[in-house]
Symmetry: C2
């Protein structure tokens, strides 16, 4: 969007009739002045389904276990928050959800795990890759400072792997960490039909806007105020959008920074609805690609 802003300013300066419109797309959902971004709904659906499956997988064993799921989001926790959609009943996993919007305290985290074990044997915890302590140090840096391999090379790893080792050493239970990694932004199977339709709508609205003379704008989504989910497109000034990050509102983060509220669920649930038919070829999705 910064590029859209610069290019449209440049075109205006040079009296060019080139029109520059921004069509948003990011699984991170961190753009301001839009209800949400194309891509987020499908990634949120992937996260929720995967966390559900990881929880069911863990629950087949009777012995105590902790599974830590590391989800993308360096500064904004939208995707990690989407893991709350995985809950099928009161008290279901994930038992703890940590976003980068609030500080992470590892001793408090361990105490909460111990408490959660009183009512449940298999705990799933979801963390954003960007969680940090109150000094602003990323939790993944705790691991990176000292880890080296047998050849003396520095080993870099994520916060999930660090927390896996922490829990193993401090609580002595079975622990696994799962990094959803690039699959959460590239998997086609979990695609949301709502997201897919809205993405096409944003693209065509942007083209129409350019044809009607608009420039230097981003296509944004506006949610209707009715109870029934309804999205329409509008234009927003890119100079108000670029180089900003929309974070999860603090009032949607509850339980001392370990969960998200019903308001978040109501916001996110409509975005994951529907499943488009996926064109298949030889047993696999018929992907678009370049050689």
């Amino acid at each position: 969007m910064d590029t859209v802003s610069k290019l449209s300013a440049y075109a205006a300066e040079h009296n060019s009739d080139l029109r520059i419109l921004g069509i948003p797309k990011t699984i991170d959902n961190d753009l301001v002045l839009t209800d949400h971004t194309p891509g987020f709904g499908s990634a949120a659906k992937y996260v929720a389904a995967s966390v559900c499956e990881i929880g069911i997988d863990a629950s087949v064993y009777e012995s105590k276990s902790v599974t830590i799921v590391e989800i993308m989001g360096r500064h904004a926790g939208w995707l990690t928050a989407a893991s709350a959609l995985a809950r099928k009943f009161e008290g279901d996993n994930p038992v703890l959800i940590y976003l980068p919007e609030v500080d992470f305290d590892q001793d408090d985290f361990l105490r909460r795990l111990e408490k959660a074990f009183c009512s449940k044997n298999n705990l799933v915890v979801c963390v954003s890759e960007g969680i940090h302590d109150k000094n602003g140090t990323f939790i993944c840096e705790y691991a990176g400072e000292a880890g080296t391999d047998t050849f003396g090379h520095k080993m870099l790893t994520g916060c999930g792997k660090y927390l896996e080792n922490l829990v193993k050493n401090r609580l002595g239970v079975k622990v696994r960490s799962v990094e959803l990694n690039v699959c959460q932004r590239s998997s086609i199977f979990a695609q949301s039909l709502t997201d897919s339709r809205e993405a096409a709508m944003a693209g065509s609205y942007g083209v129409e806007a350019a044809l009607s003379g608009e420039t230097g704008k981003m296509v944004s989504f506006v949610r209707g105020t009715d109870e029934l989910y309804d999205i329409s497109c509008a234009l927003a000034d890119v100079s108000l959008i670029c180089n900003q990050e929309k974070k999860v509102p603090l009032e949607w983060i509850i339980q001392d920074g370990t969960d998200v509220s019903q308001e978040f669920i109501s916001y996110a649930r409509p975005l994951i609805q529907g499943a488009p038919a996926i064109p298949m070829k030889n047993g696999l999705p018929d992907y678009a690609y370049r050689k």
Copy 2:
């Protein structure tokens, strides 16, 4: 299958008419005396689709990169071999595939990466979690011996993360490692209809066999010799199956242990065909679970 063997022997000893039949299920595909096992086809489809998506994700950048995908399989490389199904054209990713059936040599690995960079910028490499060197030392142990976090705790990690750091330090290119982890055995979206149907067929064949008086047997799959894929069920003596592992035949492992042959592709391709309708609820698969 070991339990099936013991229980049926015990029942016979005590003149019980209890019938014990084994219905196989393992994503590892490592049971002998059966063409393949229920679960493998769906997991193979997940692996192939994910590797395809990871490759496309990597290819959007022009700069050189290596992506290492770590796939389940401690002693048998069936699932890792399935990554070969991801190739859409000659020379497509994955460029290298390493199975635990053969020894891994990290210097040869680095040389092959350098050579592959001559014709391609974004390289995807697939490795089984159980790859080991010629002394039998697991590659993941290379990392585990020395890694500790800032609190002095031993950090355990997988071979993918170790190789990521190796390539970063030795070749100086952008590297990422992706561990498919439990998602490869629990994801419902990539389910193969062929696999799903065969699993039900194996179950019902087992029940019929028990009712007709059989015991101490496992339901096995027999592939027809026609060109058209065709599977029928049979019974095999569990005592010949339990405590054995079926590995990928060495003649299917080519290019000095860095790829799999067309024979493997022809074997595996039919197993990933078809997609069952997935019952959905509130935007997510309607999973079976216990509270």
